[in-house]
């Protein structure tokens, strides 16, 4: 991995009235990494992701992508600069086919995309996500795993440098989860850096190069999976809240 971080988050904070959802979070993600964000429920993981993708404005702090300051930019500009996002609760655009959904990302993901180029990107994204056969089906026909593939395909079509994923595994059966893990690996092998939130520990252990642990809105630890799971504070944070989840992986 090269020395310069691709995505930098510095001093990120967000308060809703009196509630401090995220407080002074710092981390860096290097090109080609798979970076996981874990933590007990309510730790502020999704809020952090929302702040990075521009769905929320931070109370303090900054976000930089490849040297560009994203902090004041609206989400569509961040997308143009290379930030892709797939959502936890899958939200396909209804009344459109799979292809049309992905085309939105392809047509608008970067500034000035020609129609031909957009079609190409959409087709490639569908290939990569394994949805090429379903491209003309209405999105209502998809099962859960297919919907998640669609989320990723849509994000891929925007030609991201960094892909933000939120709990992709939620609701998937073990066989499906294995396929989803493959998909994430394939995405990284294309050269896309991945930042993902996850609760399922075996997945984090298998996929993540480095892990950020959050609790109560702050960063608790950063390191490899082995390092953070050995960290006493991390174990306590989990034992205090979700005993089962922490034990699940080991």
């Amino acid at each position: 991995m090269s020395a310069a971080p691709l995505l930098s988050v510095t001093g990120l904070s967000k308060s809703f009235g009196g509630l401090r959802a995220v407080h002074d979070v710092n981390f860096q993600v290097f090109p080609g990494e798979i970076f996981a964000i874990i933590g007990p429920n309510g730790a502020g993981k999704t809020t952090t992701l929302n702040l990075v993708s521009g769905l929320l404005a931070p109370s303090a702090g900054s976000i930089t992508l490849a040297g560009q300051d994203l902090t004041r930019l609206p989400s569509h500009k961040r997308c143009h600069l290379g930030l892709g996002r797939a959502f936890q609760v899958v939200q396909p655009f209804p009344e459109m086919t799979v292809l049309e959904n992905v085309l939105v990302g392809a047509q608008f993901g970067s500034a000035n995309v020609s129609a031909a180029e957009a079609n190409r990107r959409a087709e490639v994204a569908l290939e990569r996500s394994g949805l090429a056969a379903l491209s003309d089906r209405p999105v209502e026909d998809l099962n859960l795993l297919q919907e998640k593939r669609l989320e990723i395909a849509r994000a891929l079509a925007t030609k991201p440098q960094v892909l933000l994923l939120d709990e992709v595994m939620a609701g998937l059966r073990p066989a499906e989860a294995r396929l989803a893990v493959e998909l994430v690996r394939d995405v990284r092998n294309e050269g896309i850096t991945v930042v993902f939130i996850e609760h399922v520990m075996p997945v984090v252990r298998d996929l993540a190069d480095r892990v950020l642990v959050m609790d109560h809105g702050s960063e608790l630890a950063i390191g490899t999976y082995a390092e953070v799971t050995a960290n006493r504070m991390v174990v306590e944070a989990y034992l205090g809240k979700e005993e089962d989840e922490a034990e699940e992986g080991s």
């Binding site: 929320l56 609206p74 989400s75 997308c79 049309e100 939105v104 990302g105 608008f108 994000a155």
Partner: protein, 361 residues
């Protein structure tokens, strides 16, 4: 790869064909029905006006902005041309499109401040805006805008009786002129709609309408596109209002900014089929036909018919006439298959609408 006719080109061709038909309709009617053609043309004019009103409202609705301010823009157009004529002697061929421009500028202003308003909040804000605008116009110096009673306006067509011409032919020529002007305006609206539907704008608008946050994250610029829709919608509405002013011969605050205009503008596309080019037009054809009957049966309370149509559409016909017809077509093609129409209160007549961002910690 087999060659396909460009859908955009095909649609445009169909539109031009339709317009050509409209062009020849008046003389055809005259030949076939003589004196009676005058009232048929009147009906036609009503249908064209309603269709343009409906289509222009639909343009805005495609981005999820359900506006109750449509009357503000038709009214703005009407008053602009009237005031320009009165104060600066601006000729009608210039004043009318300028009415559209003024309405568009107004929409730009309104649209910019309401970008973060959704659903009922947006609706109420636009309604409030219309009322304020109406009062502003009413309170303008009487010299300029005529105050509460309004003022008279020159007619667009004032044919004079030539020797040998019968009385009804005068009315016919007048109606014919207006018919053509409205047809041309509808054509403009239709072309705008087709260009949107056959370009990447269609999916962008749909994305914004169904989930603005996700659309943004995928690179769509919701602010810019919502404003674009607003400007296009109100330009058409404003121009329509301007022509109406010159046809009716007068403008007044209550008339130009009447809530009934907005009601018609929204009920018609909902009934006919939202987010399509054909839906609003189809809805207009049916409702304009009904309007005569409604007015005769209910006099002042004729809008009750529209209220009933609105309620019935939402309960029974979520996808409007267009949806109904295509549902029937599908079932004919696939007997035994086919989808549920009906009171699907869960299945929206609009797509899952975007609800304002929920701030989840």
């Amino acid at each position: 790869m087999k060659p396909r006719i460009n859908p955009l080109g095909r649609d445009l061709l169909l539109a031009l064909l339709f317009f050509a038909l409209l062009l020849f309709l008046p003389p055809l009617l005259r030949g076939a029905f003589g004196r009676a053609s005058v009232s048929y043309l009147s009906l036609g004019i009503n249908a064209l006006v309603l269709a343009t009103l409906a289509l222009s409202w639909d343009l805005l609705a495609r981005t999820g902005q359900l506006s109750l301010a449509h009357a503000a823009f038709t009214g703005a157009g009407a008053y602009s041309t009237a005031i320009l004529l009165r104060m600066a002697d601006v000729p009608l061929w210039l004043g009318i499109p300028l009415g559209g421009v003024v309405a568009a500028l107004l929409a730009l202003a309104l649209g910019s401040v309401t970008l973060r308003l959704y659903g009922i909040y947006f609706a109420i804000a636009t309604l409030a805006f219309t009322e304020v605008l109406k009062t502003v116009v009413q309170e303008l110096p009487t010299k300029i805008a005529g105050g509460a009673p309004g003022m008279n306006v020159t007619a667009l067509f004032r044919p004079t009786l030539a020797p040998g011409m019968e009385r009804w032919e005068l009315a016919f020529v007048r109606n014919q002129g207006y018919f053509w002007v409205y047809a041309a305006l509808l054509l403009v609206a239709v072309i705008i709609s087709i260009f949107i539907q056959r370009s990447r704008l269609k999916s962008a608008f749909t994305a914004i309408r169904t989930n603005e946050l996700v659309a943004g994250v995928m690179g769509v610029n919701p602010a810019r596109l919502k404003l674009l829709a607003f400007v296009l919608s109100s330009f058409v509405a404003g121009t329509l209002g301007a022509v109406e002013a010159h046809r009716l011969g007068s403008v007044s605050p209550d008339g130009a900014f009447a809530v009934s205009t907005t009601v018609l503008a929204l009920v018609t596309p909902i009934f006919g089929g939202l987010y399509t080019t054909v839906g609003p037009i189809l809805g207009a054809l049916v409702l304009a036909g009904l309007e005569e009957t409604l007015k005769r049966t209910f006099a002042d309370g004729y809008l009750i018919g529209y209220g009933i149509v609105l309620v019935a559409s939402i309960l029974f016909m979520p996808r409007g006439l267009v949806g109904l017809l295509s549902g029937i077509a599908k079932r004919l093609r696939r007997p035994g298959g086919g989808q549920e129409g009906g009171m699907s209160s869960a299945r929206a007549m609009t797509d899952e609408p975007f609800t304002a961002p929920e701030e989840t910690p």
